[in-house]
């Protein structure tokens, strides 16, 4: 009896023989086990998808009634009116330019610099020194932008900041950093690089140390120089991980790190022409101006474009290198 049950379950898992949607007890147990997670996904990932209709409605709060009533009964369908309004506002061009522009810079630097540094640090003789530097450079990954914004403030504050003190001590003019938009594209790119380069370097380094050493051994026997080894072995071996990170970055080209653009700039109004990205704009439209039309329309556009970008970049990478696709 017991053995019969055992062989049945063995054969069930080894070679599933089921008809139609027939679920086994085993499946029900797994469904039960994962039920909390599934509920979480329904509540926090799928419920907001239905809330997206707000972008096609003239959202009006019905006093005393719930959100669903306000949204589905009280608010009128307006089709693509919200998007029309949004595109007529002058902000749109700026927020899209900023978001894409910064992301392009981040992607380019985030590709070239960490790979270069990873290759360089893999050559350092003292492994203790390499480990130490790696650990130090990994630190910013664990800090929030709120914390980093205070670091920045310590350097850039107009009256007390270190840089202005130095400028004063050499007899230069002090600079009101948080009022001068011309510097911020560089500051933001620098900050993002400072915060992410160590982490990316470690990711690439982990792949480099995973490369089969015999490849290098035979290259050395064939008389390959360092540069030839990098070009002929290291970079090709890094291609899958580079591709995956590239797809993920390009897929996120319409999203931006809210903390960087909001906190590090101290949300300074005079900088907004160069610091306002889609995420900052949506946040402000929602929380500060309660402008649901703009906020939801630009948010939905961001989601759709982001989805298109992920699928497209995955397709392109797969065309170039069938092994490296993400899905």
């Amino acid at each position: 009896m017991h053995r019969a049950a055992a062989t049945r379950s063995l054969s069930a898992s080894a070679k599933p023989r089921r008809r139609g949607l027939g679920l086994l007890l085993d499946d029900f147990e797994l469904i039960l086990l994962s039920l909390p997670s599934i509920l979480w996904y329904l509540a926090f990932c799928y419920a907001p998808l239905f809330g997206l209709v707000i972008a096609f409605k003239n959202y009006k709060v019905a006093p005393g009634k719930g959100f669903l009533y306000s949204l589905f009964v009280r608010s009128k369908w307006v089709g693509f009116k919200n998007f029309e309004f949004l595109f007529k506002s002058p902000d749109v061009a700026i927020i899209f330019r900023n978001t894409i522009g910064y992301n392009l810079a981040f992607i380019l630097i985030g590709l070239v610099l960490p790979v270069t540094l990873a290759i360089l640090i893999s050559q350092v003789h003292s492994s203790r020194l390499a480990k130490g530097c790696q650990t130090a450079m990994f630190l910013p990954h664990f800090l929030s932008w709120v914390v980093v914004s205070y670091f920045v403030y310590a350097f850039l504050a107009t009256d007390r900041g270190l840089i202005n003190s130095l400028l004063k001590s050499v007899g230069g003019e002090t600079i009101t950093w948080y009022q001068r938009p011309e510097y911020w594209p560089f500051i933001l790119v620098f900050l993002n690089t400072w915060k992410t380069v160590g982490y990316s370097m470690v990711v690439y380094l982990a792949s480099i140390t995973g490369i089969d050493q015999s490849l290098y051994e035979s290259a050395v026997i064939d008389g390959a120089t360092k540069w030839q080894q990098v070009k002929g072995i290291t970079l090709p071996m890094l291609r899958p991980i580079i591709s995956i990170l590239f797809i993920m970055n390009v897929g996120h080209i319409f999203s931006s790190d809210f903390g960087l653009f909001y906190h590090a700039t101290r949300d300074s109004g005079s900088l907004s022409a160069v610091t306002q990205t889609i995420d900052v704009y949506v946040y402000k439209a929602l929380m500060e101006r309660s402008n649901y039309a703009y906020a939801s329309a630009s948010g939905l556009m961001q989601s759709v474009l982001g989805c298109v970008m992920i699928v497209a970049s995955n397709y392109i990478v797969k065309r170039i290198d069938p092994e490296s696709g993400f899905f």
Partner: protein, 304 residues
């Protein structure tokens, strides 16, 4: 022949390039740590020194007044510290529960709904409801405004972490263990808790650390879901945000503020002392946990 035997010795860069590269990395490492050191130094500078000399690596006078101030206002900032710890622990445990059960479920090759589940958790990775509807649903439907749950629930589960778990279960847990559990008539829940979890500590530790750091560093949820009338719910990170806001607000509207109000806003050094309190636990612990982060990454990079 010798080169073929020990190529890793001969395949090293020469001493001069090595010295240059080493110097470069020492400079980069110092450049990374410098701002942290700077903020700690400021937090130990006396207020008079900051007023006279500005922020400086070598203050005229050292002082622990900032930390005395933090202990003094314990009802506000001390509360925030406790909140941060509580949120971090609860969130990490809840997240581990959700992620590990989900990861285990989609790791079972015999699971009938495996394909459906995988699609179900991948879709949100591709397409999200966006800030507005997320905010609306969380506040209006679930009533999360001004609750601790608003800071814990939305970030608890993640497809990416579930995939890392799945890959770990697939590659390191032998099927025979689960089969033996089945033969003994154990349910999947029992197999998961008794057999799978005890040998999955490395991945549990990795994801647990990811979650711990994420919750400790979180401020966005507080920004969205907490009103200034609910100060007692603030986590430390959000205290930093609200101080920053009130300072920029004061700078813009200086004439409206009497000394009475400015008194409640921490002084220059005590702001940096809060930053230090937030950062030091991270800075002291991450070197030990670093390898888990690297391991987690490489596990996740394996496609299943």
């Amino acid at each position: 022949m010798k080169a073929a035997k020990k190529p890793w010795v001969f395949n090293k860069v020469g001493p001069i390039p090595n010295a240059l590269i080493s110097a470069l990395f020492i400079a980069l490492a110092l450049g990374t740590l410098l701002p942290l050191v700077f903020v700690v130094v400021i937090s130990f500078s006396s207020e008079a020194s900051i007023v006279a000399k500005g922020y400086s690596f070598i203050p005229m006078e050292w002082s622990t007044a900032a930390y005395d101030y933090l202990l003094d206002t314990s009802n506000y900032i001390g509360r925030a510290f406790v909140n941060s710890i509580g949120i971090t622990i609860t969130g990490t445990l809840l997240g581990l529960m959700l992620i590990s059960t989900l990861g285990y479920t989609i790791s079972r090759p015999s699971f009938r709904l495996r394909g459906v589940y995988t699609a179900f958790i991948f879709i949100p990775m591709m397409f999200s409801g966006g800030l507005v509807s997320t905010y609306m649903v969380n506040t209006q439907v679930f009533g999360l405004k001004n609750t601790y749950l608003a800071l814990i629930l939305p970030g608890a589960c993640s497809t990416w972490y579930a995939i890392i778990m799945r890959t770990f279960f697939q590659t390191t847990i032998p099927d025979s263990i689960i089969e033996s559990g089945k033969i003994d008539g154990a349910s999947q829940l029992r197999i998961f808790v008794r057999l799978v979890l005890p040998i999955s500590l490395p991945v549990i530790a990795t994801i647990g650390l990811f979650l711990t750091f994420a919750y400790w560093n979180a401020w966005y949820g507080a920004m969205l879901y907490l009103d200034s009338s609910h100060r007692d719910l603030y986590p430390l990170q959000y205290v930093l945000v609200s101080i920053q806001n009130s300072i920029s607000f004061m700078a813009r509207n200086e004439e409206y503020f009497t000394s009475e109000i400015t008194k409640t806003i921490p002084t220059e050094s005590s702001r940096m002392a809060i930053v230090t309190v937030v950062v030091l636990p991270i800075a002291c612990s991450y070197p030990f946990f670093q390898r888990y982060f690297i391991n987690g990454l490489t596990i996740g990079a394996v496609k299943g």
